[in-house]
């Protein structure tokens, strides 16, 4: 699954650590999701969508 996390993060000038703290997960987890190594569960995907105030499909897309 592709995602726009890196772009969305850069738009807000957030580091991976900033995003991790806002989501309540580890920086390593943010890195894994951002680089596509790990697809988040639906609850985490919704938390990410809520944080960026975007629908899930605007952040995550099929390969």
């Amino acid at each position: 699954m592709k995602n726009r996390l890196k772009v969305l993060r850069a738009e807000r000038d957030w580091s991976q650590q900033d995003l991790a703290e806002r989501l309540g997960v580890s920086r390593q987890s943010v890195n894994a999701v951002e680089t596509g190594k790990y697809d988040p569960s639906l609850p985490l995907a919704f938390r990410i969508a809520d944080l960026f105030e975007l629908p899930i499909e605007a952040i995550f897309q099929r390969d």
């Binding site: 580890s26 920086r27 390593q28 987890s29 890195n31 894994a32």
Partner: protein, 201 residues
């Protein structure tokens, strides 16, 4: 650099290797007849001092990677309690057996004493998986446990067949703890190396 900083800067694997090497050395010295009770227990207790250092180094590394979650800290603390109580209860059981030479139910109880701590560790691992809110870290730990279980299955069954065919000596079942622990470390190492490889790509 201060001694404390140098110690806490070491990799957790170094301390794990010190502990495992210490156990292996003690076993070799005892088997070759160079030492006996109580020096074997004293040596194991000495090498057990590396366990708190391993926990500190592990938490330091986790903090550096941004993975030191509350659940991980609780798990590390419980793992330390497990490791130290395992060494302590093993020492108590061996000392009691060699001092009073008990028989019957008391001997059974002494023999079961160290294995109580293994049950505690299994509980601690279960608690970690239940308490960990970070799903990626949880998946990582589950992967490591699966790798450890797979390694143990292969090693134990292979050795068992070698024993059955009379080409290998008997090995006590409690060595499975050491094999599983090595597998857990290997699992973490493999995943970390894969992550670094992906990051570098």
């Amino acid at each position: 650099m201060s001694l404390a900083a140098r110690i806490s800067g070491r990799q957790p694997l170094v301390w794990a290797a010190v502990f495992a090497g210490g156990l292996a050395l003690t076993a070799w010295l005892e088997r070759s007849g160079r030492i006996g009770w109580p020096w074997n227990v004293a040596l194991i207790a000495l090498f057990a001092l590396s366990l708190p250092l391993m926990r500190t180094a592990s938490l330091n590394r986790a903090s550096g990677c941004g993975t030191a979650t509350l659940a991980l800290r609780a798990y590390q603390n419980r793992s330390l309690v497990w490791a130290l109580s395992y060494v302590a209860l093993l020492g108590v059981a061996l000392t009691a057996r060699n001092t009073w030479h008990p028989a019957g139910p008391v001997l059974w109880l002494l023999a079961l004493l160290p294995s109580l701590t293994i049950a505690y560790y299994v509980w601690a691992l279960g608690r970690y998986l239940a308490e960990e809110d970070d799903e990626y870290q949880r998946m990582r730990q589950v992967n490591s446990a699966l790798i450890a279980t797979g390694l143990l299955l292969v090693v134990a069954s292979t050795w068992g067949f070698l024993e059955t065919f009379g080409v290998a000596p008997h090995v006590e079942g409690w060595w499975s703890v050491a094999v599983w622990a090595v597998g857990l470390g290997l699992g973490n190492l493999v995943q970390t190396l894969r992550e670094r490889q992906d990051d570098a790509a």
